[in-house]
């Protein structure tokens, strides 16, 4: 059985003149432990797709099943439980809680996780051991993103969704962050869906999906490269 099954999902925004079809009949299968990179230009519907897999947004039609759970049929509370148990999410804008320092931001998730990892150890792995009591406003972009990754994976999620996570980072930070993701994928067999408009990142994918104007235009399984080999 496939880990994630996406069948014919569509989603439109607005009405009449200004109506936009963000996703148009998208179908996709992703296996357990896969690193799936979704590539596409800005406005092509990548975030919309990711938000639907994450249960943040509803589909107009079609279905999404994760580990046999049809999330498109869940109510609000069930969706929350789904996110709580299965999901880690990382955004381009980090979205750390500014009132909390690094370790506290991570504990926000650890507190509600069933089998959490040790947050101190995790922050060591992510190279934030010296910044545990720093507030987001006192960190560089790369450090903030690493913190938000730590927050996403401290619960050891089955599925990690990353929306343009390197979009705001310089090359060195990008390399660091990608390395961490790859390590997590190998160590915990975490399924990772990463959306980006950065072609270079496609190298680390087991599966490469291209979308344009809300439609899947390419879907290939390939051999992945190490993060160091991506040429970033």
């Amino acid at each position: 059985m496939e880990h994630i099954t996406i069948r014919n999902i569509s989603r439109g925004y607005g009405q009449g003149e200004s109506a936009v079809k963000a996703l148009d009949d998208v179908s996709l299968d992703i296996s357990k432990g896969e690193v799936c990179v979704i590539l596409g230009p800005s406005g092509s519907g990548k975030s919309t797709l990711l938000n639907m897999i994450g249960g943040l947004d509803r589909v107009d039609s079609g279905s999404i099943t994760v580990d046999g759970l049809e999330i498109t049929a869940l109510n609000k509370k069930q969706l929350t439980d789904y996110r709580r148990e299965k999901l880690g999410m990382v955004f381009q804008a980090y979205n750390l809680i500014p009132e909390l320092n690094v370790i506290e931001n991570v504990r926000v998730v650890k507190d509600i996780a069933k089998e959490p990892l040790d947050e101190t150890e995790l922050l060591h792995v992510l190279g934030l051991e010296k910044h545990m009591t720093h507030f987001p406003s006192e960190l560089s972009g790369g450090q903030q993103q690493r913190c938000s990754i730590a927050r996403a994976i401290v619960k050891n999620p089955a599925l990690l969704l990353c929306d343009e996570l390197t979009g705001a980072l310089d090359s060195a930070s990008t390399r660091e962050v990608l390395k961490v993701l790859q390590a997590i994928n190998e160590r915990y067999n975490t399924t990772i869906i990463m959306i980006t408009h950065d072609e270079r990142i496609s190298g680390m994918a087991d599966r490469l999906v291209r979308i344009r104007d809300g439609r899947v235009v390419e879907n290939t399984v390939k051999t992945k490269l190490k993060a160091e080999e991506l040429g970033i």
Binding site: D57, T80, L87, E99, E104, V109, I112, R151
Partner: protein
Amino acid sequence: MTLGRKAFRSVRKNLSFYLVTCFLTVVAVTMLVGALTTANTLGQSCEEIYGNLCVEDAQFATGQKISYEDLLRYEDDFDLLLEEQKYTDITIGDNIIRVFSASSKVNLTWIFETKDGKSTEVTPSSATDDVVYICKKYAGYNNLSIGDEVVIGNEKLTIGGYALRPDYLNTLKDLTETIGDYYHFTTAVVSDDTYEKILKSDMTLTDNTYYSVIFYDSNNINPFRQTLYADYRPVEYFNSDANSRISTLRGEAVMLKEEFSSYSIILFALVMVIVAFMLSRIIDGESVNIGTLKALGYKESELNRHYVLYALIPSVIGSLGGILAGIPFSRAFCAFFYGDVDSFPYSVRYKIIYMVVAFILPIIFNIMVTVIVTSVLLRKDASMLMKKGKNVKTVRKLFRGSGLRFKTVYMFRVLIGNPVRTLVFIIGMTVASMIILLGGMCQDSQRNVLENVLPDMMGDARYETGLKTFRTGEVENGQTLIDVMFEVPGTSVAFNLIGYDKDNTLLKRESLSGNPLTYGEYYMTSGAAKYYGISAGDDFTFIHRITGVETTITISDIIDNDALRLVLTSKENAARIVGVSPDEYNNILSAVPVDVPAKDILKIADFDSYRDSFEQALATTKVVYAILLTVGIIVCILMVNLLSGMLIDENERNISMLKVLGYHGSEIRQIILRPNHLLLPCCYILAIPITIYMTKLMMLGSTEHSGVYIDVVVKPVTLIMYFFIVVGAYIVSLYFGSRKLDRVDMVESLKQED
């Protein structure tokens, strides 16, 4: 102007801000209009009744009738009006009808309703023979109407109409009462001839007389009193301002004006704080737009005008609503105050000037605040304003490495991160708690008087029989006292000097210090001591009400008795100060009624009726407390709603992120709104001492006319109960808050990038 339209559109966005300011303004304006109108109505009513009906300035009783010649001589010599007042008390079952012979110079009668119709104009009327005029309230309670026959003495009389005597506006049987018992007591007026007929028809009736006087020249008051004292040695002398039959309504008008205008000022101040705070938030949030507008060439004054609209909308709506609500409220308020006295026609007197003031005041206040806030905030240059992003938070980096739970540190950092918001919440909730608590504390304090102070105010005595004149001789079952009222310079409140025998057992006299009393020294009751601010060892100066002679004594100790204002001393001391001999007395304490001829008795105070009248007075204040409670609860709900809304607005991103991370609505509510949870009990605790102080002021005001010193007493049960009410109101408003929290959209708010 397009900018103007923006202010109106923002109404929806800042709905709770508009609701809070509108509501508070409505309440404040309503209270102001109501208080001013009612005070004006009461004041004018009193003026008309007292002026047109020639109410007395003072009354006194003498042992011996003043001769006709003396009467004329006094009037000529001292430029005054003096008239004998005659009445007899008729007992019918449980009821007492005090029948007066209609007077012609002082305390005239207003017959405002007869079978021919009603008159609303206050004019003195003359009484027809064989007809009796009674109080309208008594008639109502006893199913009597105009034209009915009643037997008074042994005379059959017809009820000719309803009448009012200005000196019995508050129709009290005894001056020790605070509220008239209209079920069982009424005054009645008959013509002079009919009065004589009634007296003749029943030989058991007593003809009581006292004198009422009106002074035309206040310089003559003291010389007259001294002459009178020399000639007739009056036993009692009452100024009309110490006579609660006359002073109650007038006193209430004054109290009402002071009390309620200060309540509305508190509310106006709260509105100003909220407006200032909200406006600075709105301007802060829009600073980029403002910067752009400034760069485009909008003048500061134009922008100013735009923001004044924000404050103007709620204050105009609130003022208008307040005026509209104020009209029926004034009517209800008048009905409430007139409810204490006998019923007679009055019209509520609205005054345009009050309406205008109440309408304009909040508008002026709010414009003032707005102008100050905007001129400070808009003065910055355009580039500075444009740079300032939306939702810039200042994060206080407290407890950096504390290892405390993140929820706890989050709460403190949020509280301190926006100190102004925290302060507004504290002020708002403290005021709300205070309004809610005020009624409870007043009730507790009054209940305490009823349950603990009154029962032993008279010691072991149950009856106190006041005599018209001093006399000598034994009284069976009774213990005699000298009891004379004295004035205290600089206060409007008198006290009684009591002279007792060494072997008196009925007079309550335990000292607060626990030390035994020494016969021959001076002791003051706590009720008087608290009022005059006297403690043991202090000197105390007072004035003889009739002769004007000053006496200074030293108070040795304070007696535990809040209900009465007394100075106790030996009969010898009292006799010397009063100017009588030590074996004379004018008051008898007893456990059972004493056998004294009715014609010698001035008044009998019995404990039960005193207690009853106090209890009745409490019942009428309940309405005020219910209003306070309601207003407090609404202020509480609105304030919490306003500030939870702010917390949610400020933390939209955090809320979305928590939702994404898998937190449920209730858990998020816990985290985001917890800063308020913490403040709530703090505000409540803060409100307690403030409310105690306010209650003290209110109770002191009521002491002036009830005579009982009311200590502020707060039962823990009440504090707990009212805390639950505050918490209840808080939970209700959290419910609204949580709906707003649910509406925060994850995708939308995470999209906005820094």
